[in-house]
């Protein structure tokens, strides 16, 4: 019993002296003290100047529900290079926005946005909000077409801001309309001309007789933005069409023209038997009301863009660097002539969009404005993946607490010895 008590007293003394020694040691060689500075999406930019002035031993951590601006991300990356431990976590919406010029005489900008399902998108420029939409539950994003924009365009995906510059305007080249003389060819060419496209026509009238513009352009992307084939007479252009598309030119295969031997290999699908519809005398004529050639056997590398009942009416495919659109309608002129009020304008707009979707655009040149933004990608690239905040380090246990423990140990040891009758 006595031995046990003595050991306790010795133990208290040893621990007390050990702590005294540790205190002396840490006073000579102090442990690094780590402070973790924290910020959220809303105040991270405001905190950056003060973070810049903190010692590099301070860890910096941001909890983000939206990626900071490019300036903020670059600033954080600079702090990391300066020796700070910079970390972030949170779940900013993965989003990317790309702006591209609309290849049409009217110009404009198309902004395509990839964003999480159900997120809300708001598009604005310096003059104010332009448009907004919500990504559908199973959607991948959305697109906006802006006829006119002032300077750059800003976009919000929920709270995530994105900014894309207004791309340089591209003056579209001419469009060649090739077909037999008929209403469809005439009204397609007319609709495009009325929308401001420069249209060159080549209409077959009789064997060896074409009605054509006096100056026929070369079939290349220096002269043409797109070729519209109204029917199988596109075959007279031969292999030039394939070369043109592979160079980046656009090709619209309307009606049954995709069946022409020289272009069938380019088509998104084959030409199905024409679907004919009975049109009553009182029916309003719309696009496809009187029937169409369905796109049959859509190729694996093609995509169906429009369906009518069980049939595909519009399908698209990339060939080389060009685009090919197969449009099953062969008498859209009926929609223009005999459609409801406004059908003439709708016919013009529809055909202009069809051509615009495939028209050749020159490759982006150096010095082009920044037409895409992917803030979360930039965040990952500059700061790495999300990580939890570093643990705060205060440089050891509070010395006042240690002093109190030492005094308590010595007091217990002294009391124990006195109770045993020792000094």
């Amino acid at each position: 019993m006595r031995s046990l008590r003595r050991r306790f007293e010795v133990g208290c003394r040893v621990v007390a002296f050990a702590l005294i020694g540790w205190l002396i040691g840490t006073s000579i060689f102090p442990a690094p003290r780590r402070v973790v500075e924290r910020a959220s999406s809303s105040d991270v930019l405001a905190r950056l100047p003060s973070w810049t002035r903190t010692p590099s031993s301070a860890a910096l951590h941001a909890t983000l529900d939206a990626a900071p601006s490019p300036l903020g991300v670059a600033w954080l990356a600079a702090l990391r290079h300066a020796g700070h431990v910079v970390t972030w976590n949170g779940a900013p919406p993965a989003s990317i926005a790309v702006a591209e010029p609309v290849i049409a005489p009217s110009g404009g900008v198309r902004v395509n946005v990839a964003a999480p399902a159900n997120s809300r998108l708001i598009l604005a420029d310096v003059a104010g909000t332009i448009d907004s939409t919500r990504v559908t539950r199973d959607g991948l994003g959305a697109g906006f077409t802006v006829p006119l924009s002032l300077d750059s365009l800003s976009l919000h995906v929920d709270r995530q801001p994105l900014t894309v510059a207004r791309p340089n305007d591209v003056a579209p080249r001419a469009v060649l309309v090739v077909g037999d003389a008929g209403w469809e060819a005439k009204f397609v060419a007319g609709a495009l001309e009325e929308r401001g496209w420069k249209v060159v026509t080549r209409f077959a009238v009789a064997p060896g007789v074409d009605v054509r513009a006096t100056e026929q352009p070369r079939i290349d992307t220096a002269s043409l933005a797109a070729i519209i084939a109204i029917d199988s007479s596109v075959g007279t252009l031969g292999a030039a069409v394939q070369r043109f598309v592979e160079q980046g030119g656009g090709l619209v295969l309307a009606g049954s023209s995709a069946g022409a031997r020289s272009v069938s290999a380019l088509a998104p699908g084959s030409v199905g038997p024409r679907i004919r519809r009975n049109v009553a005398a009182t029916d309003t004529i719309g696009l496809g009301t009187t029937g169409y050639f369905p796109v049959a056997a859509v190729r694996e590398d093609a995509i169906a863009l429009e369906r009518r009942g069980s049939g595909v009416t519009v399908a698209a495919r990339r060939v080389g660097t060009g685009r090919v659109l197969q449009v099953g309608y062969d008498d859209s002129w009926r929609w223009r002539m005999a459609g409801a009020s406004g059908s003439e304008a709708a016919h013009r707009e529809w055909w202009s969009r069809v051509v615009s979707s495939v028209a050749y655009a020159p490759a982006t040149l150096e010095g082009e404005p920044k037409i895409f933004d992917a803030p979360v990608v930039a965040l990952f690239g500059r700061l790495g993946p999300p990580r939890p905040a570093p643990v705060t380090s205060r440089g050891g246990v509070d010395s006042r607490l240690l002093l109190a423990i030492i005094l308590a140990l010595l007091l217990v040891e002294w009391t124990s010895r006195r109770l045993r009758g020792l000094r």
């Binding site: 209403w183 009204f187 009325e194 009926r334 003439e344």
Partner: protein, 203 residues
Amino acid sequence: MTTEFVFATAQYDSGDWDSAPLVPANIIDTIARYTEINVAPTGVIAPLSDPRMLRYPFLYLTGHLPVRFSDAERRNVRQFVDRGGLLFIDDHNHDIDGVFHKTATEEIARTVAPLAELPNDHPLYSSFFKFDGPPTTSHELNGWGDNLVHKHLLAVQRRGRIAVLFSSKDYSSEWNYHPDSKRFLSVDNTRFAVNLVVYALTA
């Protein structure tokens, strides 16, 4: 195959719209004879008062008697022209002082726009066969009607295209015969009709 060209004769409430009943068949025969245009074997009659007239972008209108469009006819003709149709009017009287000429030109001025002389180097005259201007007709040369050889056709143009073409040449008499009778002609006098149709389909 493109949708076929249908030769449509305009029917209007006033006057004798069917005064040249053999013209459609004769023109259809001519189109088929000289071109590869996919032409319907028979023509149709398109009442101007019925919006279904808009299904035929080329309309042939003729007669001897006064032309007065009803409100519905006027509305449809205006829409027809606005949407890109071509209305070919031929004076079956061949008489610029006649009632058809006076009333039809007034009606077109009221409904669409005043008619103006069409230059003789207009693409219409070279769209298929080459002409120096509107071909003359035997009725002009025989002194019928106003005893004049009309050097020009009249037209209303929209966006650089002929929307209404008015003829005082009396092609309705010139072309109003059975197609088989063409074999008796040294030169087919319906060739200008090919230019009309080709122009309508390509301009």
